[in-house]
Symmetry: C2
Subunit: 347 residues, 2 copies
DNA sequence: CTGAAAGCGCTTACAG
DNA sequence: CTGAAAGCGCTTACAG
């Protein structure tokens, strides 16, 4: 038989070799290493020393086969459009996704699980592939084919952001979109805004709905008209310019714009400036989702940091809880307002 | 023993059950399914039907244990700075990385491998984790600790972009940085530029070095002065503004700026405009690395599309070649120039 | 506290 | 062309 191929320089050392060196049985080695069963402390010390000396590392395939688990979690990021197709580009927040991916990997590893990246297209293929115990799906859309495929395969999932077509599913982690909207609106009002407009997006996602609802509620609570304009993903810059012009040309011009989606904040800022308005002088602006582009805008855009690291950690923790049979739970994670020049009229 | 845990709804069907249903031995099932060994065509048909009827899916752990491979490739993306630390943010091109990740996952799967995401921090931890046959490391820096850890673990690697501290390593995939620079410079010259400046970055990466060298060579070939300014990652906006001002205030002002790094193009554009210059009227501009931000700038920024999908596919293919014992190889992948308004004076 | 043995699901010499 | 058997490395009843 070929030796284990995943370490190319040295044949893997097995539990049997450790047992031989420590002068005990493989059972005792297994017990000493896993902490299960009773082992004499001296014996245990000897085993540990032997394992270390030999550089023993357990064979995951053997463990997984024996235990009937994969100890692997899957991550499904949103798909960018395939080159050349007319598909809408769902890659709304690349900075966010990269951090989610890296932090989720770390969180999974620290819990002794591997994080497998599944391609977001071809969900059937993905599911036919190596087994996973559970999956994290980022930014589900309505009737998301990835979620359907995972369901059909019987793989438990947790979503980051909620699936708008199954709001009854309790297994989700998301920014506290409603709370974040309130934080941003209160900040703009504190900064002097009296008529705040919402720049929304024509995307069928939970966060968009929640942001709009929270905006409407805030407006009625504060006895303000709920001014909403909407831009579109397919036609991002032009539709943002149109929406901004519509807001600016309205009989009662707003004095602040809250753009909920990460990608739309900087273009909205540019559009306002192109009309000849000063930000923050003539118009306060804030974005619902922070990004490098928001930080790099002139002026820098005030934005809600959705804390991708916290989202990823919570998602992995929740998925492991689900796999452990714990009762349903969800986590709305409060964002952190990053105040920058676009919303500071007097500074 | 617990049943295989990665399919929660139905106990996994094993090769033994397929054998029973087809009325043959497990050996024959294995042969029929794998295509190895000789099997009577009729028998094979029967086995395949039985496997399909039962929904048989091979247990990867068992296969891997038996074959001594992991059939798993690792992907290491660059790290964003940990929150609160002063580390330089190496997340230079999030759009690029997300596409690389998704496409690499698809490429690995189509070759019957899983793609495992390793956390870019704590390389020891990463390597102690589940076994992988090989790894793709994106954007290595000089003396990259991730590469060292992988080397020490004996895991073969392929890099996307070259490690500047081991240019003798043949196992890399990268944009054709030199060729791309020439394409961009020729385009700017064709568009009317007579004095082109390079906006570079103070990062110790292979691509930066290659872009600068290609620029210098192009300039001497065309009998032009090699005007170079440099911005810095830590101080992105301010240093970009400074670099731009330095270029604009020079006795012989350039009429075009080529910003090599993805993140610096849009801020450079904004800085030029803030000085009161029109783009493309007074200054042509192009970026060495395309991004959503470049597309969304006003005017949109001409940029080189580094084709992240091609990079990812080539990297996975090259890594599998390396694992298969094929001779060393590398791939410089030509980029595609995306001409936009920032470099079209007459349109 | 310790160990011999069974068995997870698979692949592959080997014998027929 | 087909099948019985060994064995990959591990964990865990079970017996001592």
């Amino acid at each position: 038989l070929p030796r284990q191929g995943h370490r190319s320089d040295a044949a893997s050392v097995t539990i049997r070799q450790v047992a031989a060196r420590a002068g005990v049985s493989v059972t005792t080695v297994s017990h000493a290493l896993s902490g299960r069963g009773r082992v004499d402390p001296n014996t245990k010390t000897r085993v540990l020393a032997a394992a270390k000396a030999l550089g023993y590392r357990p064979n995951r395939s053997a463990q997984n086969l024996r235990l009937g688990r994969a100890r692997t979690l899957a991550l499904l990021l949103p798909a960018a459009a395939d080159r050349g197709t007319g598909d809408t580009n769902l890659l709304l927040a690349a900075d966010f996704y990269v951090t989610v991916a890296n932090v989720a990997a770390r969180a999974a590893f620290s819990q002794d699980h591997a994080l497998m990246l599944l391609p977001p297209w071809e969900p059937r293929l993905s599911v036919d592939a190596p087994p996973v115990d559970g999956a994290v799906v980022v930014d589900p859309v309505r009737a998301d084919p990835r979620l359907r495929a995972l369901d059909e395969a019987g793989i438990p999932t947790v979503t980051i952001e909620r699936d708008p077509s199954r709001l009854d599913d309790p297994w989700w982690v998301a920014p506290d979109n409603r709370g974040n909207t309130v934080i941003a609106l209160n900040h703009l009002a504190d900064a002097g805004a009296t008529r705040i407009a919402l720049l929304s997006v024509d995307v069928d996602a939970g966060w968009a709905i929640e942001n709009e609802e929270a905006f409407t509620a805030w407006c009625s609570e504060h006895d303000k008209p709920p001014i909403v304009a909407r831009a579109s993903l397919e036609n991002l810059v032009e539709s943002t310019e149109q929406a901004v012009r519509q807001l600016v040309d309205a009989p009662a011009r707003p004095d602040a714009i809250f753009a909920i989606a990460e990608l739309f904040g900087p273009p909205a800022l540019t559009a306002v400036q192109a009309i000849g308005l000063d930000v923050p002088g003539d118009m306060l602006m804030a974005s619902g989702h922070d990004s490098r582009a928001a930080q790099l805008s002139r002026p820098p855009l005030t934005a809600i940091d959705a804390r991708p690291d916290a989202q990823a950690n919570a998602a992995i923790e929740l998925l492991l809880a689900r796999l452990a049979g714990e009762p349903p739970a969800h986590h709305a994670i409060p964002g952190q307002l990053r105040v920058r020049r676009s919303s500071q009229r007097f500074s």
